[in-house]
């Protein structure tokens, strides 16, 4: 494996540690990679450019997620510069999620369903 390929792999591993703040708020350990937010990782002699999209245009956590990605990838110590570029088109769709994210969403739905079911039962 070339050094570039190793570093790219390391970037993807690091990105998998950056949690999506909304999913984390719901108690789910789902990363930006699991959600399919990362559109590309490009390395050159100077550094790395990472493309990112969000589940909705105007996501209020855009700055925060970008900051965490930059800090995390800079922390690898490989790159002089890390640039995270928001890319809004073609836009995020649920098909971009992997199994980790899908399972987390599914379990969240089931939990909510049980919650509402018990609330209905308690009131009848």
């Amino acid at each position: 494996m070339t050094e570039t390929a190793e570093r790219e792999d390391a970037v993807w591993v690091a990105l998998a540690e950056v949690l999506d703040p909304c999913m984390a708020a719901g108690g789910h350990r789902v990363s930006v990679v699991d959600l399919g937010l990362i559109t590309r990782v490009n390395l050159d002699s100077e550094g790395v450019e990472i493309g990112i999209t969000f589940t909705e245009v105007g996501c209020p956590f855009t700055h925060r997620v970008i900051d965490r990605i930059e800090s995390t990838v800079l922390g690898l110590g490989f790159f002089k510069s890390v640039r995270v570029t928001p890319e809004w088109q073609p836009g995020w769709t649920p098909e971009r999620m992997n199994k980790v994210a899908l399972n987390a969403l599914q379990s969240g739905r089931q939990k909510l369903g049980r919650h509402f079911q018990s609330a209905i039962t308690d009131n009848t």
Binding site: E56, V57, G58, P60, F61, T62, H63, R64, I66, D67, R68, E70, R83, V84, T85, P86, E87, W88, Q89
Partner: protein, 350 residues
């Protein structure tokens, strides 16, 4: 449909120049702002990144706003975002100059940084009152060396002295950045609950929640229901008319149900979006057929200018008659300039 009298509730002569960026946070801010630019501009007319990284000067800003769009009055907000931009992004100097040069066309909200010490704050406030500020713009959070600092609108020590100053000096409008975190800051400062006490204790002041709709929509609606002096100024959140119309309809429904058409204020966030694009989107925007809150000439007129005119004591008929005789109206006689032609070099003096 006739055009309403349009007051753009928040627009800015930004300084996006690369030399103005303050560290990594400034770079992130610019990258994100520029990423939206192509989505909220006329197709094929968006600025290139080098064109966009520009320190907007007052004269080119006002000509862009008034000669490239059918905006009647610009409400210019200065901003104290020093954690991302060396000059805060939109200086008070630019706002003061615009107000001085175009008093009938500009409403100006001077900004004050409440993280400064009290004496500097008082000085800044006095200065921009002398310069003709019509309102005060506040930012409740900042990011410093990995930490977020926030203050609350219900703070008797930090915020209330500003409101008392406003009351004593005839300023009736306070706009506060909320609901949309700027930079990697935590969200406490973006909560809206603290505005309730401010609105209660200062009933003679109007409090505008700038960026209303991005977060805490239920809480914002609750504030509208409880306080007649709280308003939703939908800077950037009104871009959902372009980016996500069903979402815009949902936000409007919440706010109209809670406060009526009288409490929502149109704001384009120009000159990142082109002002005419947002105007056209809002003029064309329709609520779903089954909504009880249909937009007609009257309600659209309130949102796009009437409400802010009322807050600033502007008689729309009188002001419109005055503006019909000014240089901008004369220049518009030949039609609007092409989008971004002003910043690309077309000027009145040419």
């Amino acid at each position: 449909m006739s055009k309403p009298f349009i007051i753009d509730g928040v627009c800015h002569p930004y300084n996006f120049a690369e030399e103005n960026l303050n560290g990594r946070f400034g770079k992130i801010f610019n990258d994100v702002m520029f990423s939206f630019h192509p989505l909220v501009n006329p197709q094929g007319a968006a600025l290139s990144r080098p064109e966009w990284e520009h320190d907007w000067q007052p004269a080119e800003f006002i000509e862009t706003m008034l000669l490239e769009s059918v905006t009647d009055i610009c409400c210019v907000h200065s901003t104290p975002i020093y954690d991302a931009y060396h000059d805060g992004l939109v200086t008070n100097e630019k706002g003061a100059q615009l107000k001085a040069d175009y008093p009938d066309r500009v409403i100006w909200y001077g900004c004050v940084d409440l993280f400064e010490d009290g004496r500097n704050i008082r000085q800044a406030l006095s200065q921009f009152v002398d310069q003709g500020a019509d309102g005060i713009k506040l930012y409740p959070s900042r990011y410093v060396d990995g930490f977020t600092e926030s203050w609350r609108m219900d703070s008797r020590e930090i915020a209330f002295p500003v409101f008392e100053f406003a009351r004593e000096n005839g300023i009736k409008n306070i706009a506060v950045h909320k609901a949309l975190p700027i930079g990697p800051i935590s969200s406490e400062g973006m909560l809206v609950d603290d505005i309730s006490a401010a609105a209660n204790c200062f009933p003679e002041l109007n409090f505008q929640i700038v960026h209303a709709g991005f977060m805490f929509v239920d809480e914002t609606a609750m504030l509208l229901r409880n306080h007649p002096n709280i308003y939703c100024t939908m800077e950037a959140s009104m871009l959902f008319t372009i980016l996500d119309p069903p979402h815009q309809a949902q936000l409007f429904s919440e706010f109209f149900a809670a406060g009526g058409f009288e409490r929502v204020i149109y704001a384009s966030a120009a000159v990142n979006p082109h002002p005419q694009v947002v105007i056209e989107a809002m003029l064309a925007f329709q609520m779903p057929e089954d909504s009880p809150f249909q937009l007609d000439e009257s309600s659209r007129g309130l949102i796009m200018g009437g409400n802010l005119a009322r807050l600033h004591g502007i008689d729309i008929e009188q002001r419109a008659a005055l503006l019909r005789q000014d240089e901008f109206e004369r220049a518009r006689g030949d039609g609007l300039r092409a989008p971004w032609s002003t910043v690309r070099g077309i000027r009145t003096d040419d």
